[in-house]
Symmetry: C2
Subunit: 308 residues, 2 copies
């Protein structure tokens, strides 16, 4: 038996594209991660609980290295007649944190075989930067040049309302109103169509009002045959904090009390109807079962399916 | 705003390759799934527990459709000087079940950028078909023609011992002894080198004796710098049954009492030392934390890392 004489194989040096596919009836759903943002847990991240309690929950979830773990997971939905993206990730230019770990959507879409030009529609859940900034490239060109941009009428109305902006606290004006007015202008506005709650946005995808996180925050139910999945957007932020503790109020929730009411209502329904959830801020592949547990709920990630 | 006029995008129709990468110190580890075998839960699958209890545990783990879920996850280890595969999956010809769902290793290695010819070594944990059959192609050619085949001395000795074979029950002779003598012959034998417990198999990968599942069943610790992962092979079969219930005896454990002793010893150590585990029969990506919980243990899958 001769000793091995192979040249050392080069290390790959990077993660594979985070892409995961499943069927909902006849509809093909593909999770395409935009990555994970890591940052020091800010003070007041959960406004009604001591920071030490939040840190303990993060440690229990094995979030490592004293850094918060915030995944972003847009969704590709091929209904058979339309190719749709739900939410866009942070885009190329808007976030400076976690370089290389976020803003991966276009790279991962390419790895999954999707050309941005092929999308018929982009559905937006709500007007926060990690959901809308990917509508534009770094040079402000449309990322999905052939797509209609479908937005919740109530959400669009709120952020475009000058009176609301005038009444808003400074942080929301600087952090959200101005960004939304930058994004939702020019070419984006030309391709924009508003949609209403409790109606189909495109065939197979129905909008459900889930306000609180933002005034017009919207979830979506994808349904085909007997298949159904609840695309929750930010009904909860990371599950290891806010599914387990639905009474915790996240910094990002504009109306925290309303967000909690919405969260409990949605999760009671998911648990009762045994409907699976797709969570934008769930760890990739972000597709999970939900059950009642203790004073809250417990999510169980779907078992990886090597064939669909 | 014109209505969309895009042609319908073709559905992808298949899952992406199950590949996941992480670092252990300077060593690059890549999980490459061979797939998931699905079959009706056999009677006696857990020999010391009523079938109804097993079914309840499967339901609690959301194993769907009254079919058992048995994942196979070989591991690529690039130590920087050697490209190594630990265990091979079921190969191309040996299993007829779950067509398309298993025997994916070569396809997924290719998707991950690995040429079978580039491997310097294949390390075998034990001589069960889902770990060794992938050493040969359907035409009996070597799958990894340039690799040394590194096998536990004790395991090899047992299965090649004519006296052991003569004393073995018929099922083990037909199901394992004959298959092992088919695989470990000819070209495989020419490239074979046995290794001993508690020694490095290749630099950075140390063999640890974990007998019970089979007489020479072996686990491996990959270590580099302060990084360490415990590659457990079949110390437990699927975690949702046997990590949660270490006293349950799996059909596949040759010496079930010894396997249980080994399992408890390994898992006590993993929990105490907070060492992560890589489990061949864990759901992909099969990389997890272990903690004590109730009368057993609880595994928590690692959070997907979009960058390494």
């Amino acid at each position: 038996m001769p000793p091995s004489v192979r040249a050392a194989a080069p290390v790959a040096g990077k993660q594979v594209a985070g892409v995961y596919r499943y069927k909902v009836g006849d509809i093909e759903v593909t999770v395409v991660t935009d990555g994970v943002n890591r940052f020091k847990l800010p003070d007041g991240f959960v406004s009604n609980v001591a920071k030490s309690e939040v840190e303990a929950a993060l440690a229990a979830a094995h979030v490592e290295g004293d850094m918060f773990y915030n995944p972003y997971n847009p969704l590709v939905v091929n209904t058979g007649s339309k190719l749709v993206l739900i939410d866009t990730g942070v885009g190329e230019g808007a976030f400076n944190q976690s370089k290389g770990q976020i803003g991966q959507l276009l790279t991962n879409l390419a790895a999954a075989g999707y050309d941005p030009k092929a999308f018929d529609a982009v559905i937006i859940s709500h007007y926060h930067g990690d959901h809308v900034n990917g509508l534009l490239r770094a040079d402000n060109a449309l990322t999905f040049p052939n797509a209609e941009i479908l937005v919740p009428a109530k959400e669009h109305g709120y952020w475009m309302d000058d009176g609301e902006m005038a009444r808003a606290p400074k942080g929301r004006i600087e952090g959200l109103f101005k960004n939304n007015r930058r994004i939702f202008s020019g070419e984006v506005l030309k391709r924009l169509r508003t949609y209403e709650w409790d109606k189909e946005v495109v065939p197979g995808i129905t909008a459900v009002g889930t306000p609180g996180h933002s005034p017009g925050h919207t979830s979506h139910i994808i349904a085909s045959g007997s298949g159904k999945v609840y695309v929750q957007a930010d009904v909860t932020h990371v599950p290891f904090l806010f599914v387990r503790n639905p009474g915790w109020h996240a910094l990002y929730d504009q109306d925290a009390a309303m967000a909690e009411t919405t969260r409990r209502k949605v999760y009671d329904m998911l648990a009762a109807e045994k409907m699976m959830v797709q969570g934008f801020h769930y760890p990739f592949p972000s597709h999970a079962y939900v059950e009642k547990s203790g004073n809250g709920y417990r999510e169980t990630m779907a078992l990886w399916n090597p064939a669909i």
